[in-house]
Amino acid sequence: MIDPRSHDSVHRSFHNHLQELNTIPEIPKEEFILKCTSACAGCSDSLALRYVLKAAGPDTVLVVPACCTSVIQGIYPNTAFNVPVYNIAFASAAACASGMSNAFRAAGKKTNVIAYAGDGGTLDIGIQAMSGAFERGTDFLYICYDNEAYGNTGMQRSGGTPLGARTTTTPTGKTDNKKDIDAIIAAHDPPYQATACAAYPQDLFKKVAKALTFRGPTFIHILAPCPPGWRYSTEKSVEMGKLAVKSGMWVLYEREYGKLTIGAQSKAAIKKPIPLEDYLAPQGRFKGIDPKTVEILKQRIAKNLAKLTAEEAAP
């Protein structure tokens, strides 16, 4: 197997480049998501993907399993995406991308292969193929955009649904915790993994651009607030993402060759978090949530933040 670190130099020069850009990256004007998508109003997946593709550029293929993005791209014979999109069955995004990446590399092509899947296609039905592709050192970027339920089919519970959230299959609130897919990915020891949020597109842009400089499997987990699923009004998607980060419910970080760096926004939230209730209250999915459940959520947040803080501080 090729040592991903052999590309360190490429990666470092890109890193310097990002530092030169200071905190605001030069985001290309070119659009790869054209008008006339069939996304819901206020869809933050579309917002996230817009920046993903701006960072990836035109020499990119998206591999998309069944998910909201299968719908958003439009209806045959039209497509709203200006990069090739290969749609594939639900469980097989990572496996399909694995074959594609190998074929491109065998032909000497550097084309970015990005598997772009929802939480269902990643945490649930697609986890086996994804684990296999990471274990095999596949040269690709896997992005999970997480709206915390099966949005495409009308908001059924997924492994990504948080404790206490109502979905159409957990009408009184989910009784199980959200699956920690990031820890599962970390166990595969990829050269790069990160979390991001659609409400922070510059941060997302930088992380995608960085991920694509590594050889080997990389992973980005994007929180993607969903107005119809989370039951808030459509203009509040960015606000909702920011509340998730500020409350500590969602943590922005990167793990590069195993070394964790917590993002500035999340560091601020760790120091001085907003009350979790400020995040839960505007969302219909948490309406009537049991105070005991809120308490458990708070304890889990505290535990997670302590764990991440300790990991970052470790030599």
Binding site: G74, F81, P84, Y86, S98, N102, A103, A107
Partner: protein
């Protein structure tokens, strides 16, 4: 070059000569030797392919799909439960019009765990849009694999091809194998709908009811068109390499009163049974069905037909017998034999013919009155 080989190694040998860019496969008995042999060729540098050791058959087919759509040659091999596990993706491969070639080593389905020959695995894939050929010797496994690439990749076909060989009875049997210099018999692959980042295209997205049926019809049209191309390929193969193949392999059929129809190694047993029966004065013939999809027009007019199925569709009947009865008005005696690797000798096959009861179904080893 003449050598001795197992069926599995013969398939691997053919794959080595056709150099797929990507082989994605998962081991399963009795196919394993194919992928081990290919992995060996790749690691020794004899075969310049990328071998992806996927974590499941579902992923094997998905990886072949992902590779194939970039415009390169791909191959995989499986058997039994592996084939069924990839069923969702076999449909996808055909629907996406990808010329993937797969060897399937026919094996029974559980429970219980039975690793022996049966055709029910591949026959459960008959409605997917894959072309299916069934072979009866080690040599034929090799020849059919070479031809499969040429047929699948032809731009008037562009459908995946499954080469079926009987588990153990062929996969692990040593027989003579005459390898050939393939040369330009299989031209370089050119996939007209390959991914091109300079011409971004959406593949397999939302498709409405006013469009989907057109894609379905297009598969059917191509599979019908494939008939003449299969014939042309087999003719060209015979011309170049001297071995003749067809949709069926007919033995002593012309003057026969009764014809045995079977697939795979049972079809070879049937030829020996024919010789035996002819000595007894029974004018028998054997028509070994090679291509199940596209299903050929069989010339059975005026004959009694004994169909041997190494498979079954519960609640309906032997799958081959059902297909044949749908096509011909001739009387059929349907024999179900060899399930789960049950031993069926040419003596047994001769017995089916001697004691045939037209219009009836007979389970060998279960019904004792024949």
């Amino acid at each position: 070059m003449k050598k001795i080989s197992t069926g599995n190694k013969a398939v691997a040998e053919a794959v080595k000569q056709l150099v797929p860019a990507v082989v994605a496969a998962y081991p399963i008995t009795p196919q394993t030797e194919i992928v081990e042999q290919i992995a060996e060729f790749v690691s020794s540098g004899e075969l310049k392919s990328r071998y992806i050791a996927v974590e499941s058959e579902h992923s094997a087919m998905a990886a072949c799909i992902g590779a194939s759509i970039t415009g390169v040659r791909t191959f995989t091999a499986t058997s039994s439960h592996g084939l069924l596990y990839m069923h969702e993706m076999t449909n996808w491969a055909a629907g996406a019009r990808l010329p993937i070639v797969m060897a399937n080593v026919n094996r029974s389905l559980g429970p219980g765990w039975n690793i022996w020959a049966e055709h029910t695995d591949a026959l459960q894939e008959r409605d997917t849009g894959w072309l299916q050929v069934y072979v009866s010797t080690v040599q034929e496994a090799y020849d059919a694999t070479i031809m499969a690439f040429r047929i699948a990749e032809h731009n008037d076909v562009l459908l995946p091809v499954m080469v079926n060989l009987d588990g153990f009875l062929l996969s692990h049997i040593m027989q003579p194998l005459d390898t050939v210099d393939v040369g330009d018999f299989v031209p370089p692959i050119h996939l007209p709908h390959a991914i091109d980042v300079k011409n971004p295209t959406g593949y397999g997205g939302l498709t409405g009811p006013d469009q989907q049926f057109k894609f379905r019809w297009d598969i059917e049209r191509s599979i019908r068109d494939s008939v003449k191309f299969i014939e042309a390929t087999e003719k060209e193969f015979a011309k170049r390499f001297g071995r003749k193949y067809g949709f069926t392999e007919d033995y002593q059929c012309t003057d026969a009163d009764v014809i045995i129809v079977a697939m795979g190694t049972l079809g070879k047993e049937a030829e020996v049974a024919v010789d035996l029966l002819r000595k007894e004065g029974i004018r028998a013939g054997s028509m070994r069905l090679r291509w199940l999809r596209p299903f050929p027009k069989l010339d059975l007019k005026g004959k009694q037909v004994v169909v041997i199925d190494r498979d079954y569709s519960f609640g309906r009947g032997g799958i081959l017998a059902t297909e044949i009865m749908a096509q011909t008005k001739e009387d059929v005696f349907s024999v179900i034999a060899g399930l789960g690797g049950q031993e069926v000798t040419y003596e047994d096959v001769a017995g089916f013919v001697r004691k045939r009861r037209m219009g009836e179904e007979f389970w060998f080893g279960v019904n004792t009155n024949v």
